[in-house]
Point group: C2
Chain length 295, copies 2
């Protein structure tokens, strides 16, 4: 039996980097370590971190500089998660003397910096994204007082003059196309930084390729995870036998009977060790030794 694991399965670059940073901090014995908000929406990972002493400060999720910084007493190290945080909060945290580990995704950081640059160059900045998402709130804080968040698909009052555009990193390219279609007629000048990260698009692409060449697909990720459900729907639509699972325990031996090629992919919040557990379970249940192949 051949087992293929998609290269793009699981964590994207930014999430992997943030979690590595969190584990490294704890291991180095930096005293009391916490993340500002859950570092990832995966309970197993949060639990693992808790076991090595990294707690989560929830009070500060979506905070502004106006909110008193509760929960920081006795803290030695604070980890900023991939979404990033608003600029005023960042400045306030720096003044506390607590060691800050900035695990903001480098792509999100770029979007923040481009928003700042556009604002400094005198553009009215539009941020395409979900208004309430912490990433967007962070970018907004860099984008100047005239900035506006444009939610995908929502109608927009006509914008004139000089308009600058940055995009929440997880938006699909179609949302940016639609926004440009809307503003190009009335704006005299538009400067767009395409800050979309294509890891989601690449994961879908690779999953589609993989699903076409195997007899069965395991898609790993939270049953409520939007991006995992999207992966499972895609495999289903190709006609391959597809199972959306959260852990290895859900694999039933009969599923693997008579299968020659097995594909594994995973949503963005699935850690590598869960993917490995699934791989090992398949190997064991099929009664064969490991014969893993890269795609």
């Amino acid at each position: 039996m051949n087992i293929f694991i998609a290269n793009t399965a699981g964590f994207c670059f930014g999430v992997k980097r943030a979690i590595d940073l969190a584990f490294r901090e704890a291991k180095e014995g930096a005293g009391r370590v916490a993340t500002l908000g859950p570092i990832i929406h995966n309970p197993q990972v949060i639990e693992q971190l808790k076991q090595i002493g990294v707690t989560t400060i929830d009070k500060l999720e979506n905070p502004t500089s106006e909110i008193p910084l509760q929960g920081l007493d006795g803290l030695d190290t604070l980890i900023i998660r991939t979404h990033g945080i608003p600029l005023p909060l960042s400045e306030k945290l720096k003044s506390t003397g607590i060691k800050l580990i900035d695990a903001t995704c480098p792509f999100v950081k770029k979007a923040q910096q481009y928003a700042k640059l556009l604002s400094e160059e005198g553009y009215k900045v539009l941020i395409l994204g979900d208004k309430d998402h912490p990433e967007v709130q962070g970018i907004l804080s860099y984008a100047g007082s005239e900035a506006e968040v444009v939610e995908p698909g929502k109608d927009l009052s006509p914008v004139t003059g000089r308009v600058g555009v940055v995009v929440q990193t997880t938006q699909p390219i179609e949302a940016l196309r639609r926004l440009l279609n809307q503003i190009v007629e009335t704006a005299k000048e538009i400067k767009v930084y395409n800050t979309i990260c294509n890891s989601t698009a690449q994961r879908l692409l690779e999953t589609e390729e993989l699903a076409r060449k195997v007899d069965i697909m395991y898609v790993i990720g939270g049953k409520n995870s939007a991006n995992t459900k999207q992966l499972a729907r895609l495999c289903d639509s190709i006609g391959v036998e597809t199972y959306h699972i959260e852990t290895a325990e859900e694999i039933v031996p009969v599923q693997l009977q008579g299968k020659e090629n097995v594909g594994i992919t995973a949503g963005a919040s699935t850690p590598e060790w869960i993917i490995k557990e699934v791989y090992n379970a398949i190997t064991t249940l099929s009664g064969e030794g490991p014969e893993v192949s890269d795609k």
Copy 2:
């Protein structure tokens, strides 16, 4: 009978300005005056200018600085038409000592300057327009060595990095939308100057409005003029009785019988005096005194 003349009938701002400049130069007795290429594609206007001593130098139509400047001997004043000319030619002409009257449309001039700015800022400049049009050739000369002309609707090889966009002033907005749709996925940064002049769009809009409230429409302009034919087709499609005429002589009295409201519009190369002749002819043929109304 009410006669309505569209405000946007005939010359656009840039063409009107150029022709005014040409007539003024000749009247001031500036010696031998010529235009570099026909100042407008309307034989009557060219003929009128000829009668007051303004000739046309055709040899230099689409010239580059490599072409010897023939036909300038004995010339006192040279008029640059609305399309503008390439930068190297402009510099060469300045060195001849001939008085230059720059009637380049201010909107075209802006497109040239934006192309230069984008190139200086390190963008790869794309000019959306018709490759062989003198306006586009002129803009291209300002856009740096990496610049490229993109013809509307044509496929484009993927562009990456930092891309700057300017547009031939007479392109429809849809062409710009299509171009942005194409490049937004691969370019990391796009800076767009929407240099489209909306006089054509406004003329169509006003003509449509007018056609809906009159009993008969006269559309004045060359039978081969693309923009005039477009106006006539638009009126026709609304269901109003429409006549596409070149001069007042084509109006037949029976057309006006029983008509209460008459509309007049005209293509971009139709001079005002031809519009006035048509207006006067309608007044005379209808047997009424003038009762002109603004739209």
